[in-house]
């Protein structure tokens, strides 16, 4: 069974706001596959450009909202691809990221990639349902 997880708040519906042809997340086989989460305001969908630190907080906060609305949580993350715009921000990423992984972090790979709209971070995650 494959089930689309709807955006719990309007701002997290990137298809509506930006035309990105994707669902916020899909549940299947006991796992939840999330679309790459971006630093957008969860209420309005507006882009929240900032420092890597500020953008990371927005992204992780959004993931918390999304996963909890689906009956999961950040504590149930199994894999993260952390996309950052420049590997020089690796330590900064860790400083923020660590704060959200208090109950045991998941597997992770950090990718230095070109992210849309000049964002500094995008998190691509899989969680246990």
């Amino acid at each position: 069974m494959r089930e689309v997880i709807a955006a719990p708040l309007a701002g997290l519906d990137l298809r509506q706001h930006y035309g990105h042809h994707q669902s916020p997340a899909v549940r299947a086989g006991g796992l939840i596959f999330c679309s790459g989460m971006l630093p957008v305001d969860p209420l309005t969908g507006e882009r929240r450009h900032g420092t890597l630190t500020s953008e990371a907080h927005v992204v992780l906060g959004n993931l918390k909202l999304l996963l909890e609305s689906a009956g999961s949580s950040l504590d149930r993350l199994v894999q993260v691809h952390a996309l950052i715009y420049d590997s020089i921000e690796y330590d900064v990423l860790n400083r923020v990221y660590r704060q959200y992984m208090a109950n045991g972090p998941p597997a992770r790979t950090v990718w230095t990639a070109q992210i849309e709209a000049g964002f500094k971070i995008q998190l691509d995650v899989v969680a246990a349902a």
Partner: protein, 135 residues
């Protein structure tokens, strides 16, 4: 109804390959959940010394995949159970050399794979992650 899977962390038997713990990083070497094992990205680390193992890309790929084998076997899985691999190279022109070594580790019914190039930290020539079936 689908059971709620519990996740558990995987550790390599060789502690020198536990980059997460060694450097106090916010990740684990791998996570087991349900039928699957998700490994964190692995880079070329000398399993004898725990130091970065740089050199020709062929050697870096060989070391990384050997370490991946060890990681999977520590968790009761194996290279034969790998389902998907992501190979990231610092230099896209290294693809052919990477392929040459890679095929030694997956000679029969190789996993699904996507390979591309990105900026990598610490002068690493490759970073490789995978998803495998738990043993």
């Amino acid at each position: 109804m689908t059971e709620k899977f519990q996740r558990s962390a995987i550790q390599p038997e060789n502690p020198l390959l536990n980059a997460s713990r060694k450097s106090n990083l916010p990740h684990v070497p791998g996570i087991r959940v349900g039928d699957y094992i998700f490994l964190s990205g692995m880079v070329p680390i000398d399993p004898q010394t725990g130091e970065r193992s740089h050199g020709p890309i062929a050697e870096q790929v060989r070391v990384t995949l050997s370490n991946m084998r060890h990681m999977l076997e520590s968790a009761g899985s194996s290279l034969e159970l790998v389902l998907r691999v992501h190979v990231v190279l610092a230099d896209i022109s290294h693809m052919a050399e990477m392929d040459r070594v890679y095929r030694e580790f997956f000679p029969v019914d190789p996993p699904a794979r996507t390979a591309w190039s990105m900026q990598l930290r610490f002068g690493n020539g490759c970073e490789i992650e995978c998803v495998a079936l738990a043993g």
